[in-house]
Assembly symmetry: C2
Homo-oligomer: 699 residues x 2
């Protein structure tokens, strides 16, 4: 895929310049210096020779075909440059030139125009407003970056061209190689999803590292990311997680920054490893590129100093991994090979004067122990330390079946050894914590790979009935679905809803209550009153006709007084539900990723403790249970403090039914069941109150 | 203070060796190479010359006096070496030799012996089992470190010698200077507290950075750290925060690792900045050493690339700081000086081709704006970027009244500029997040410096009555203080305790209830039953004599059945307290830092949500309020969800009364008031149940 872009045979540089420092010059120089094997065609209106290559004044002059055109002419000439590229058979163009969407409406219109031009000709475009593309395997540096990286397993997709330069400079500093680097710029045509797809199938790419400020199409991203993650790790740094960051991101590229919670849910679903910051993006990527995945989470720590060993042990335990001692027979055998004062516990302390051999013995022992899944090797530069020798000795005894990480601490004496480690494919980190964090990201990815198959259950439901209710509401032009209709819809999806009917007069209220049987609840029904209890619009536990009369009269009196303009449907008389734990389950629809389910314990747990979890619909039974388990208050559902356990299956079932409902009916924009009353194991949960909001209707 | 150690005139090296690589050789070489101005006296039994200096076969041969002796002889000769040093008038000794407490009991006994020898002669000892001491101001390198740092404002105190080497190597790599470096080793005499005291008074030291695995004496540390923090920042990395880490720490040095929560409380009290990991220790220390404290938390971000600006904005907001836009008139003036496409919002984007001048203008504008408290300057290495020039231009326009941080991102092209920044006293970080984290630690420290004066209120209480109760319990040899006596004690400290009395028979129970007035609670009273409700030993809301009789008989029947051997005092009949929000306030006594107060909302909030806060006693009114505010459930106390607000003053008051009680009576080892029922504003809180545990009595 995208052969013309990533493996072109002939590349035109439109806007090639003879002034060093100019973008059009640097691109040409980069193409030449990277040793590109195909034809390079500089295009410059003044013709002549640049960097030893004969220029065309116009691409038309070139008598061959080209595959790729890198365009670095001023804004107003870009369209012509694309047209001439199409004329020469280009399959792809890279538009380096800026001045498009990021500058405002006029630029956005220009961008739409050139994207349309490409699309109508079947040509793919990278950019505009980007740094370019690098493919080390093909010796292709079609960018104005100042550096060409060596070959390696990390491929980078970045929405910021400037960060590409920082990444390349970091890679140069640590001697880390890359497979591909793509600066996607304003992504008018090709975007993150396209490149994730391409890189998933690229044999040189071992890990895909993305820097993103926005995602162009959430649904496509979800599918592509999950498919890619099934074959190789995808690590994403998504910025704009704060309101200040979102503001900065939108002033920067005009990208629509979605809610951060939705991104989190999307990444969780699709197996994307989320990096917390710039350093952790490459800490993880380096680990994935250089080491095999761990089979489990049991870690051996090898160190020549106590302090850093303690740091590593702290970080390991805090991140949920296990500091696992060697098996006794292996520990004993190792002890015999180390000085008497060495410790073969975990951390394994080879002592301050340890040479390369002692480290090698310890690494061999940890590798031979099948109760150990990963090894972290720590070195501090002490008087007798042979850091480079140790790096080599460790590398030599690595068998490749479990990951090994290094943290050679310091900045001057250890630098050569640290670079040697990286060159020998052992990821090295400036502190033990960062090694542990990288390992943790590998464990998380491995756990995702081993997840249960995603089989979404379909419940038998009365879909036609929901269609009827929704068309009625649509006819009335009412986006707000009150309790009565919301319950009707939920009942059709086999939710347990208390028996209830609307009554429009005092006598009808009493008659309805008598029919349903006491005790009953009375709730005001009005499209204008969503928060019923705030208006005195809910009366519970009415147990005889007198109480129903009193409640009715009082309710009408108060509503009249407080909200005289409210349109009244009447009162909803409902059988009193049994008691149970109050749960909230709900859904909001993210503009990017679609329906996102929410779960939390009712009342303070959601409102004060913010103890809620989210998951993208459609959801499996397994995922629904994970949502419950991810809350702190989960212990309460299990029956902490002597209370009876509630029926977890009922909650998981409810989440799946909502998932099915909102997938079936995309016009449901929001949904809340609050409270959902869940009783002891074996009992049916009850929808005590519910509301929805429809899209596509003006409120 | 410690002049003989830090500013000696004559230094003996006992165990000076002629073999390079040996510790006794390296120490001598370090002393010489660092340019020490005083006399150096190598001592080696074979005499002769080492590194151009004439050796004494025995220190006795030296005909002058010495101030400091660095001892690197084998274990068994250390005592004699100390004795000969004392004989020559040494004020301090550094014992490099290992093989003491860290190796087991025998070593620990040896350590006690040499420490006693020093103490009895008024000589101070560093070590044993340490790397040594460095004082750059005095050109003193009395260590076997491989590097001598340049002069700088950071002083390091480290419990790990190996980490000292990593720190020195890091400092060498980044060109960071140090004032003093002390490897405290096993700290048989001089410990972290001594050096914090000394460094607090050292004019070369701008910030004290400590790596600690344990604290020798919590009470002394608290005082010294707070005194030091009043004059300069103290940043501490305390490891052993996990059970694996504690285990590693104790196998490593045999130090008693205290509970991590207590360390957190101690650091908070004494103004110590806690570093989360090794990198943040030096990230913070560098900031403190190089930049003035911020006056507030409003941050301006200057960048030549959108992405890193967003990262910085995210990190700023997430850490609770404010991304503050420039004032309009300053922004406009800046806009006139930058290219049209530049953004003068916040982040201020000077654009990818920005030269040093554009950066300088932006930094000047941010400095001139008095609504900005701190400036973060970000650079990515783009085609036109002059990183070194920018570093210099930024440094030149710094006025020094507000802190400026840099994050020049990359690893190769920017390295020279990054080192230049550090040389120019602008702390530079590999990513914007780390700059923000360092700034945050400065803001926290500044907030602590501006704290209200710590005035602990003393309440008028009946101390004698508590003394009487406690002596009675001591006479009985009972460490567990049940509800009845605990309430008696709390009543003496003016807690509001419901009226209640012990009854030892059915008739007495009924009579007591009639006297107190219904409704009453009945609770079993037995030193053998602490968790009364587990045994059916609590009955609430008894409202007439019949109910009292039923409850009494049932209780006796059940106790007989379940715990026939329990010693029974009778039943405690108590007036039913009014309802209120259930609070838990309590105290545990940390072996290091003494009484630690605890606060949390009752029930699930403590048990399930772990929403609790701790603070060291004695506590001020202000600190008690901070404890409440630090919980997530605080909003509930304020009256979230339409409930009435509770009387916060009553809780704060209760915490202060407990603080006074446990300070007055150190034999109270544990105390729990659970629940403490707190009602609406203006009402008195009630002790519904309480228990204590006394120390010094066998259970």
């Amino acid at each position: 895929m995208l052969e013309s872009l990533l493996k072109p045979k002939a590349v035109a540089v439109i806007g090639a310049s003879r002034s060093p420092g100019k973008v059009g010059h640097e691109i040409l120089a980069n193409l030449i210096n990277a040793g590109f094997k195909g034809d390079i065609v500089p295009v410059n209106p003044s013709g002549g020779e640049i960097l030893g290559l004969e220029c065309c004044a116009d691409l038309k002059e070139y008598d061959g075909a080209i595959d790729l055109s890198v365009i670095a002419v001023p804004n107003k000439f870009v369209k012509a440059a694309i047209e001439s590229s199409i004329g020469k058979g280009a399959g792809s163009v890279i538009v380096i030139t800026a001045g498009y969407k990021e500058t405002g409406e006029e630029g956005a219109a220009l961008e739409v125009e050139i994207a349309g031009l490409c699309r109508s000709s079947g040509v793919r475009m990278v950019g505009p407003n980007c740094l370019g593309v690098i493919n080390t395997e093909h010796d292709l540096n079609a960018s104005f970056a100042t550096q060409m990286p060596g070959k390696g397993g990390i491929s980078v997709v970045s929405q910021s061209g400037a960060l590409c330069t920082a990444i390349l400079d970091w890679a140069a500093g640590r001697g880390v190689g890359l497979a591909k680097l793509v600066s996607i710029g304003n992504k008018a045509d090709l975007n993150e999803t396209d490149f994730i797809q391409v890189l998933a199938g690229d044999s040189q790419t071992k890990v895909i590292a993305c820097y993103l400020e926005s995602i162009t199409a959430g649904d496509e991203f979800l599918i592509a990311a999950e498919e890619a993650a099934n074959t190789k790790p995808v690590v994403v740094l998504k910025v704009g997680t704060s309101s200040a960051g979102v503001k900065a991101a939108s002033s920067h590229t005009g990208s629509l920054a979605g809610a951060d919670i939705a991104y989190g849910a999307a990444f969780k679903r699709s197996g994307v490893i989320r990096a917390e910051n710039f350093e952790s993006l490459f800490d993880s990527a380096t680990a994935f590129a250089m080491q095999p995945l761990p089979k489990g989470n049991r870690v051996a720590i090898i160190t020549n100093a106590g302090g850093p060993g303690i740091m590593a042990a702290d970080a390991t335990e805090h991140s949920g991994l296990i500091v696992q001692p060697l098996q006794p027979h292996i520990a004993e055998a190792l002890k015999a090979k180390l000085p008497a004062a060495a410790s073969v516990g975990n951390p394994i302390d080879v002592l301050g004067d340890a040479g390369p051999e002692a480290y090698a013995e310890a690494v061999k022992a940890a590798q031979a122990d099948d109760t150990i899944d990963a090894v972290i090797v720590i070195l501090t530069p002490q008087a007798m330390t042979d850091a480079v020798g140790t790096a080599r000795a460790v590398a030599e005894c690595i068998k490749g079946d479990k990951p090994v990480f290094a943290s050679f601490m310091g900045g001057h004496d250890v630098m050569e050894a640290r670079n040697e480690l990286m060159a020998l494919n052992i990821p090295d980190y400036p502190s033990p914590d960062r090694a542990v964090a990288a390992l943790k990201s590998m464990c998380d990815y491995e756990a995702w790979r081993n997840r249960a198959p995603r089989i979404v259950k379909r419940f038998p439901v009365n879909r036609r009935r929901v269609e009827r209710v929704l068309s009625r509401l649509a006819r009335d032009g009412r986006p707000e679905v009150g309790e009565v209709e919301a319950k009707e819809i939920l009942r059709a999806y086999d939710f347990n809803v208390p028996e209830g009917r609307l009554a429009t007069s005092l006598d009808e209220a009493v008659a309805t209550a008598e029919q349903i049987g006491y005790s009953v609840a009375m709730k005001i029904s009005s499209p204008d009153i969503l928060h019923k209890s705030d208006f005195g619009g809910v009366k519970l536990d009415l147990s005889n006709a007198d109480q129903v009369r009193d409640a009715y009269d009082l309710m009408m009196l108060r509503i009249q007084r407080i909200a005289p303009e409210a349109q009244l449907n009447g009162v909803y008389i409902e059988q009193m539900g049994k008691r149970g734990r109050e749960i909230i389950i709900g859904m909001t629809r993210d503009p990017q990723f679609g329906p996102m389910l929410m779960f939390g314990l009712g009342g303070i747990f959601v409102e004060v403790m913010k103890d809620v979890t989210f998951y993208l619909a459609p959801i499996t039974a397994d995922e629904a249970m994970q949502m419950l388990k991810a809350t702190k208050s989960y212990a309460l559902l299990l029956g902490a403090r002597g209370e009876a356990a509630v029926d977890l299956g009922e909650i998981a079932d409810g989440l799946q039914r909502i998932s099915q409902l909102v997938t079936d009916f995309p016009q449901i924009a929001e949904l809340d069941i609050n409270p959902f009353l869940v009783g002891p194991v074996g009992s049916k949960a009850v929808v005590a109150d519910a509301r929805m909001m429809l899209s596509g209707l003006d409120p």
